[in-house]
Amino acid sequence: MERRELLKIVALTALSPRLSALQEIACHSGSGSPRAAADAKLQFFTAGENAILDQLMEMIIPADPHSPGAHAANTSLFADLIVSTGDDALKKQWRDGISLMREEASRSSLAEVLQKAAANEADPRTELDRFFILLKRMTVDAYYTSEIGIHKDLAYDGNTYLPGFSGCTHAEHDE
């Protein structure tokens, strides 16, 4: 993300100085965890749209022997949050995109439509192509910021307090 765009987003979410930043921002503990699904209430997508998104996102990042996929990570719920708090143009992009996917899938299957949408990923030309870019980006963002993505799939073991930094201890990396 370009820094100017980031600063615009920060401006839109800037807080009153009287409120604790932690209270305002860090209030959605566990939103990326399986147990959050039961309590989630869709804020923009219909149940039908969410069901389609959930399937598509699971195809993009599926469960495998190593780790759960996008469905278990509730990525469609995160998409719902982001789109519901976005502008009208974003909302229209998503609603139109899902509708297009559904319509195309009525003639084949969601899996085939996704494959078709992804075919021109390097050079998107149609509305379907462009929606795939949006969908994939959201799936990646949602999955790899979730508990499942960070801890189970990538097994990231940072963000902790180390008494020291050992650095490289491998002889094969010596120059």
Binding site: A11, A14, S20, H28, I61, L81, D141, N159, G167
Partner: protein, 541 residues
């Protein structure tokens, strides 16, 4: 009859790297100092640096971790008119950008103060490296800098560094590449503690430097300078105090500062015998341009029209490579302290070029939590997911910080028809890169690609179609100089037209080298503080 404004010896406007040094030094020298800071303090326990993404409403994707540092409407209250791809990073919080930086601290080289004499471009500074060297020594020892004396003319060093940070595996691989090209790779110099120092603990290597250090291991003004200022009993901090204009007497001398209390939106004033402006490059120019009077109709100290002009900074591009030899490796904690190594300027080792200046590379200044390659790899499905995971341990990235030339055609002005939420006209930026900048950027890109060619891995470049600026290193809008026609300040950061007005943040830079400016800002501030103290003792100020 009501009480008049409170009176102080010095009013320091801004609490960042420059303001912190000024407040501490002047208080310790016996001056009564008031510091006006537009933002408010954020205590360590409110930093979100260690928050997991899934603990944040938007998973950090909307900049939530940095929100505490961009208070009020600061991010919205600027306009860009006729600009290339540049952004001014205007933080608003007690501590300024010292709460939101990677703490790389590099000395300028002797030649960096002599662009005209050495390269025939721009202008020389009104001071030399030799004159600033003692202040570099003092400030490094004051704040705690880790690193080495690498014996490089292009990057002078001090003699009292804390132990350097150990290198990551990927940085040793990078070293093979830089060795093959005959260019240096050194331990970075950073204001990050690698052992206890100054009653502050050493770094715990969480990789969240830019999100705010919640233990005080990175130099910040609130953790290092303000406690020392407070200890003298001479220091007063006014938070949520957005300076509106500098007040003058009939002789045209500064008498204090009018500010808006951003909580009550009421205007208040402080009186001071000396005013030191440390608001950062854009905001300092904004303050002077908004300080109009019959004696200074174009803004304070601006009869030559130079205030706001010569805006410049750093240009940048970045590249990442996922090293083959780490593919599929068991993940290990590489967070560290962001930059552990640095590639100092090296193009001068390879003869003359069709551009002036150079660049350095900062390395591994991003974290390891998010797999950026997932946004760059084509495809989807099981194979995509597996590839993303296996590539992650091999992440290595570096970015160019390149010299940008200063020119009067690039400037900050103010738009009086567009006030911010506090009724103060907003700054408007005009900036275009020069032909020299573009040629340098092109050469830097080629060099980055060449470095990667000496490593085995999948490369993703993020060059864009042109240079981007300013990497939060904007400088130059209230420049010091030898020529009164093209400068506002003398070599002590003193305004020529208003002898009790000083400006010591990045806006005072005559020119910029490729090196990060913060250490030089602090050294200049220290030198100006000594000068002010000496002048006060003589009764000149």
């Amino acid at each position: 009859m009501g009480k008049g404004p409170e009176a102080f010896d010095v009013c320091v406007v801004g609490s960042g790297a420059a303001g912190g040094v000024m407040a501490k030094e002047l208080c310790e020298a016996g001056a009564k100092v008031v510091m006006l800071e537009a933002g408010h303090a954020v205590p360590h326990h409110e930093f979100l640096s260690h928050a997991w993404p899934y603990e944040l409403r938007y998973r950090g994707l909307r900049g939530e971790k940095q929100v505490p540092f961009y208070q009020g409407d600061v991010a919205r209250s600027i306009a860009y008119s006729d600009c290339d791809d540049v952004t001014a990073d205007r933080v608003r919080v007690v501590g300024g950008r010292t709460l939101h930086w990677n703490a790389v601290t590099l000395r300028y080289a002797p030649q960096d103060f002599r662009e005209w004499s050495v390269q025939g471009i721009e202008e020389d500074w009104p001071l030399t490296y030799s004159e600033l060297e003692p202040y570099y020594d003092r400030i490094e020892q004051m704040i705690g800098v880790c690193g080495n004396d690498d014996g490089l003319d292009i990057l002078p060093a001090g003699k009292h560094y804390l132990p350097p940070i150990p290198w990551r595996c990927s940085e040793h691989v990078l070293h093979r590449a830089t060795n093959a090209m005959g260019i240096p790779l050194i331990a970075v110099r950073k204001a990050v503690l690698t052992r206890p120092f100054d009653n502050r603990p050493p770094c715990h290597y969480c990789g969240h430097c830019m999100d705010g250090c919640d233990v005080g291991s990175i130099f910040t003004t609130p953790d290092c300078m303000l406690p020392k200022a407070r200890a003298t009993g001479n220091f007063t901090l006014r938070e949520n105090a957005l300076a509106r204009e500098i007040l003058l007497d009939r002789e045209g001398l500064a008498t204090g500062v009018s500010f808006i209390d951003t909580q009550s939106r009421q205007e208040q004033q402080v009186k001071a015998a000396i005013v030191v402006v440390c608001c950062s490059t854009v905001e300092s120019a904004r303050l002077l341009l908004n300080s109009r009077s019959p004696q200074h109709p174009n803004g304070l100290a601006n009869s030559n029209g130079v205030v706001g002009r010569y805006l410049h900074g750093h240009l940048g591009s970045s590249i990442s490579i996922y090293l083959d030899e780490f593919q599929g490796r068991k993940p290990f904690n590489q967070d560290g302290a962001t930059d552990h190594v640095y590639v100092p300027r090296y193009n001068q080792l390879f003869g003359k070029h069709d551009y002036a200046g150079g660049w350095g590379f900062q390395v591994n200044y991003s974290g390891y939590m998010f797999p950026f390659q997932a946004h760059l790899l084509p495809g989807y499905g099981a194979a995509f997911k597996e590839t993303v995971r296996k590539m992650q341990p091999g992440f290595l990235s570096f970015g160019t910080f390149g010299k940008v030339t200063s020119g009067s055609e690039n400037y900050i002005t103010v738009d009086r028809s567009r006030p911010d939420a506090n009724g103060i006209p907003i700054p408007v930026m005009r900036f275009r890169f020069s032909d020299n900048d573009r040629a340098l950027w092109k050469a830097a890109k080629q060099s980055m690609t060449e470095v990667c060619s000496h490593m085995k891995g999948r490369v993703f470049e993020s060059f864009g179609s042109g240079p981007r600026g300013f990497a939060s290193h904007e400088v130059g809008t209230i420049r010091m100089g030898n020529d009164p026609r093209t400068s506002v300040l003398n070599g002590y950061c003193q305004a020529r037209e208003v002898k009790n007005l000083f400006v010591t943040d990045g806006s005072c830079f005559t020119t910029s080298s490729e090196k990060n400016p913060t250490l030089t800002i602090m050294a200049l501030s220290l030198r100006a503080a000594d000068y002010i103290t000496a002048q006060r003792k003589k009764g000149e100020l």
